[in-house]
Symmetry: C2
Subunit: 145 residues, 2 copies
């Protein structure tokens, strides 16, 4: 059975939930190559005191480690929130094949910032968007409470 | 004696030289707060097989670790090459006070990409530019040879 974008985004949401439980902004990511998840990560900026510890950055490092090479050719990154400028810059260098994100981030996302991914990279948005937004809203409501 | 931008950029060049000796694109960085160097780093993308291992990214992580907090308020980053989009995105999140770079990177630098740093952050370019460019050219000539 061919696993689809929703399947892999659900796995990214599992990662986002882990971030949520650690009181981190709930963003999760997985990297997939040939139907196989080779990296899983979630936002750890608070726990690590490190602004670079976004889910995507850790997923890129982890996937490159798995592949034993710095380019993620043929890989797809699934992430629950639109990548920011930093993460889009990292994705550019990685030359991965595809980026799939759930919720848009009009304020800090790469699309409205007009930051380009690598010419070899395509992206898809909106997969499991409602689920990702629900988790994000739940987080910020709880924070305010 | 007050140490100036040239002094700290020389320290970043020492880091760049370390990268050069490891056959890495020679970029080095230091983070300074109140005249004290709190982080040193150089590009390690080849050695670590990791596109995110730019000198600036490692310097940000290292400085945050030293400060035990993710914001680099009051800090200045000295780097031998204009930061790329990824690094500028990370610098944005860090809210540091100032970025000083030596050589411009019209192709992949954040200035021509029109990626903004944090409103609190100012930048200065061209400090020890000749020295940084010389090292870079030497590296690429040797690579081609």
């Amino acid at each position: 059975m061919l696993l689809d974008d929703s399947y892999f985004m659900k796995q990214a949401l599992v990662e986002a939930q882990k971030a949520y439980e650690k009181d981190e902004v709930p963003v999760g990511a997985v990297v997939v190559v040939q139907q196989k998840i080779i990296a899983r990560a979630h936002n750890l900026t608070e726990q690590l005191h490190d602004v670079t510890a976004h889910a995507e950055m850790q997923a890129i490092t982890s996937a490159a480690n798995y592949l034993n090479g710095k380019y993620l050719k043929g890989c797809t990154l699934y992430v629950t929130l639109e990548p920011c400028v930093m993460c889009a810059g990292a994705l550019y260098w990685s030359q991965l094949e595809r980026v799939v994100f759930a919720a848009a981030d009009p304020k800090r996302g790469f699309v409205s910032a007009e930051v380009g991914l690598h010419p070899k990279t395509i992206y898809t948005q909106g997969v499991m968007e409602t689920e990702a937004l629900d988790l994000m809203q739940q987080f910020f409501i709880q924070k305010r409470g």
